[in-house]
């Protein structure tokens, strides 16, 4: 992630919060855009949103069928991925990863 990407991302978050607070003082933040929800979904599941963001996130999810479904499927993807812990990493994946690392190791620095 470039510094510019980081900055524009943070700026968008600040702007959304500011607009929300100006339009509805004292009310929970409103997240109107599904795009924003999808960006925050990982922090939501990691429980790293602040309290206001979390409330706004949950308020949007409660009203938006698409985001609710998206959250459920994103979470199911994580659970399915974690299931691979109990399985052997497929040999082709492991070989490709090892090959990638070996290739990088052999490169002159």
């Amino acid at each position: 992630m470039t510094a510019w990407t980081w900055f524009t991302g943070r700026f968008r978050t600040w702007r959304i919060k500011l607009e929300a607070q100006l339009s509805r003082p004292g009310q929970p933040l409103r997240m109107k855009h599904c795009r924003h929800i999808v960006k925050l979904i990982m922090n939501y599941l990691d429980d790293t949103l602040d309290a206001a963001e979390r409330r706004a996130f949950e308020a949007h999810i409660a009203d938006c069928r698409n985001c609710w479904r998206f959250l459920r499927s994103y979470r199911a993807t994580i659970v399915l991925g974690q299931r691979l812990r109990d399985e052997d990493i497929p040999s082709d994946v492991r070989e490709r990863l090892e090959s990638f690392l070996r290739h990088r190791l052999q490169r002159p620095s």
């Binding site: 924003h36 479904r69 991925g81 490709r96 990863l97």
Partner: protein, 131 residues
């Protein structure tokens, strides 16, 4: 491959290759859902018909997921495997791969979006019908 081996190999490898290679990321840029200009979902998100516990029982779904992991760009796959499968904390993955924690999270998120899209295609086709 065990976690400690990942750490040693990845660490040694990546110390040498910093900034030498640009991993193609275009594949992952479009991994998420489509949005309208207003930022709403542009398409209806399909409900996965199976409840999570039944999803887990579907070996075919795991196979799809494994195929998807294989298709990830190398550095995305490294982050995904270390985070999701090896269950290492972000900070540790960042140290191993010499990335910022933010970059690790971004890559993991994009990898998940990519894999979710693959699984969504599968579950949309299947509609949860027993195999």
């Amino acid at each position: 491959m065990t976690t400690w081996l990942y750490r040693i190999v990845v660490n040694t490898a990546l110390m040498r290759l910093r900034a030498q290679t640009r991993v193609p990321e275009e594949l992952l840029d479009t991994a998420g859902p489509l949005f309208t200009e207003e930022g709403d979902h542009a398409q209806e998100i399909a409900e996965w018909a199976l409840p999570p516990d039944q999803v887990l029982l579907r070996q075919e779904a795991l196979g799809r997921l494994q195929q998807g992991i294989e298709r990830l760009p190398d550095l995305y796959r490294a982050v995904y495997v270390l985070a999701e499968i090896e269950s290492l904390p972000y900070r540790e993955i960042a140290a191993i791969l010499d990335l910022s924690v933010g970059t690790v999270k971004t890559r993991l998120h994009r990898a998940r979006l990519f894999l979710r899209a693959i699984l969504a295609d599968y579950f949309a086709d299947e509609k949860g019908a027993p195999s």
